[in-house]
């Protein structure tokens, strides 16, 4: 059955969207939330398990202190209040991704609650700030990973499933917003900007790798529509596992258009979870959402309550990093970047790298040139993060140092970066091995200039007549003859010395 979609602009003539975002952040602790098993990504199946995370009889969980500290720091960074006393709860459900038959979570006593985050969006009327209220942030644990075996490869029609429990028990913080209303046509942008800024905050806190492509950060998008001016909330759907910023925006748009189609036809929205399809950009029906009471939450008797003393909370508040939005504004002013330059830098994941490169003595414009040019292109080609390239801010500073010293020009420096990316050694070794150093030896240059003059007599004549701008053609000819390794400024000087 295909959905009837209403044009986006038309949706807004009759309906008001309400958004709700649930983001799960997988912490980067050394060990799981309730046992000492390691959390390394990509280990062989079932090699990071113990009686506790396998739910074996008699095994007792113990809370990871760093997990609690990370939860409190996230809460504080989101301007939340921190509970003076709270408990864990068992969320009971029957699904083999948790061998205990329950997930240890928090229910009505989250560790952090009532916060906010100011989200910056760029709409048609320029930049504006939108306040997103945070309902809660609570501690829980990740589930195991199931592989469905059968002809379809999907859960429906699978013959049986295989489960790896390495991920079961890794600490998760679930961050839930209050219903976000009043965003109107900007709802998709607000959703995207919220997840993007939340990720920046998590990265700045250093509590998670926060890689959406590796599932360290997973967003569920709740959306409902209500008739304009009605002041009520409509029935919502929850689109699960929307795993890129762009998809968050697209999923909100799609659900707004789909809901409007259903409501226009006199239908009603079923409260359900929806699956997001990255390839086609649509959602399809998942399961009917269980009521909270179906999970039969109750306080976890095996874990004692967490009572965060105010001294501890203040100590953790002292460890919070500069707010990423404020930091961006500060760096932009320091570096003299334009708004689009700054956005490109952030989007390329180059903010820290550029900052460190400048810290190593490189000018802002040169640091930007290398990270957003040569290096960004290479990262994109090999589909890796900029920070995962074998080029560091220190190496960029070294190469730029060679340019500043007149050993390299930009074109030659590009070849040095090529060598660095190919693992050919240090910049100096690459210059040596590839024979890249610029020729500024007057003897060699002078000979090349003489050849160029002899080969282009009519150009030389023009220069003699005072048309100095014609020198460009001769410089080009010399550069070509010297495979780009001539010092262009010195070549120009020599040409003018000889002809004027």
């Amino acid at each position: 059955m295909s959905d009837t979609l209403v044009a986006f602009d038309e949706v807004l003539t009759r309906y008001e969207p309400a958004l709700g975002l649930e983001v799960h952040v997988e912490l980067n602790t050394n060990t799981k939330m309730f046992c000492g098993c390691p959390t390394a990504f990509g280990a062989e199946p079932n090699t990071q398990v113990c009686p506790t995370c396998l739910g074996l009889p008699g095994a007792m969980p113990v809370v990871n202190q760093v997990g609690v500290e990370s939860a409190i720091r996230i809460g504080l960074a989101l301007n939340c209040s921190i509970a003076e006393w709270c408990r864990f709860a068992r969320k009971n459900y029957f699904y083999p991704d948790m061998p205990k038959n329950f997930q240890t979570s928090q229910y009505d006593e989250p560790i952090a609650f009532d916060g906010w985050m100011d989200v910056e969006i760029t709409g048609d009327d320029g930049p504006e700030t939108f306040r997103v209220e945070i309902e809660r942030a609570h501690m829980e644990e990740d589930t195991g990973k199931s592989t469905h075996i059968g002809s379809s490869g999907r859960i429906h029609g699978a013959d049986y499933s295989l489960v790896d429990y390495n991920r079961a028990g890794i600490p998760l913080i679930e961050i839930v917003t209050k219903p976000i209303t009043g965003a109107g046509e900007k709802a998709p942008l607000v959703a995207r900007a919220y997840v993007q800024q939340l990720r920046e905050l998590i990265v700045a806190l250093g509590v998670s790798e926060a890689r959406m492509d590796q599932g360290n950060l997973r967003a569920d998008v709740n959306l409902s529509l209500a008739a304009s001016g009605s002041g009520v909330l409509g029935t919502r759907t929850e689109t699960k596992n929307v795993n890129s910023f762009r998809s968050v925006e697209r999923a909100v748009r799609f659900e707004m258009q789909r809901h409007a189609g259903v409501l226009d036809a006199g239908g009603s929205i079923l409260q359900e979870t929806r699956h997001w399809h990255e390839d086609t950009g649509i959602t399809t029906s998942g399961r009917e959402k269980s009521d909270a009471e179906d999970y039969r939450y109750f306080p976890e008797p095996d874990l004692v309550p967490v009572a965060a003393s105010r001294e501890w909370v203040e100590e953790l508040r002292g460890t919070l990093p500069e707010n990423p939005t404020a930091r961006r504004a500060r760096l932009q002013a320091d570096w003299g970047f334009t708004e689009p330059e700054m956005r490109d830098t952030v989007n390329a994941g180059a903010l820290d790298l550029v900052e460190q490169t400048i810290g190593a003595g490189v000018s802002a414009s040169a640091a930007k040139k290398w990270w957003l040019g040569e290096l960004a292109r290479s990262a994109k080609e090999s589909d890796v993060e900029l920070s995962d390239l074998p080029v560091t801010p220190a190496l960029v500073a070294e190469v730029q140092g060679l340019v500043d010293a007149g050993t390299l020009n930009d074109k030659l420096a590009r070849q040095v970066f090529e060598g660095l990316l190919a693992g050919e050694g240090t910049p100096a070794e690459i210059v040596e091995a590839r024979g890249l150093a610029m020729v500024s030896d007057d003897g060699a240059l002078s000979a090349a200039v003489d050849e160029a003059i002899a080969a282009n007599p009519e150009v030389a004549e023009k220069i003699r007549d005072g048309k100095v701008q014609a020198a460009g053609a001769l410089i080009g000819s010399v550069m070509k003859a010297m495979r780009g390794q001539a010092d262009a400024a010195r070549v120009r000087e020599l040409i003018l010395e000889k002809l004027t």
Binding site: C50, P96, D97, P99, I155
Partner: protein, 103 residues
Amino acid sequence: MPEKSPEITREELAHLATLARIDLTDAELDHLAPQLSVILESVASISGVAGDDVPPTSHPVPLTNVFRDDVVEPGLTAEQALAMAPDAEQQRFAVPRILGDEQ
């Protein structure tokens, strides 16, 4: 606290069975619902003893903040973990077809 009837209805039992992925026949529902009600009734008799001045207790010992350092401790090998599994494949636990949807 007001006395609540601890009875479990046939509908509630059917709903719980669905959540637990247990396929109960009509005869089993008829048979089990009253039995579960008897169990609930027995447990509920405790609230007859506890006065209004006794708060609900989730933890018998008044402890808080029992934490563990974030240090890796040895666990089980995959072989040990899978030794008790009824079935395993590709070093993973093999489980019957999963009914319903993913969590």
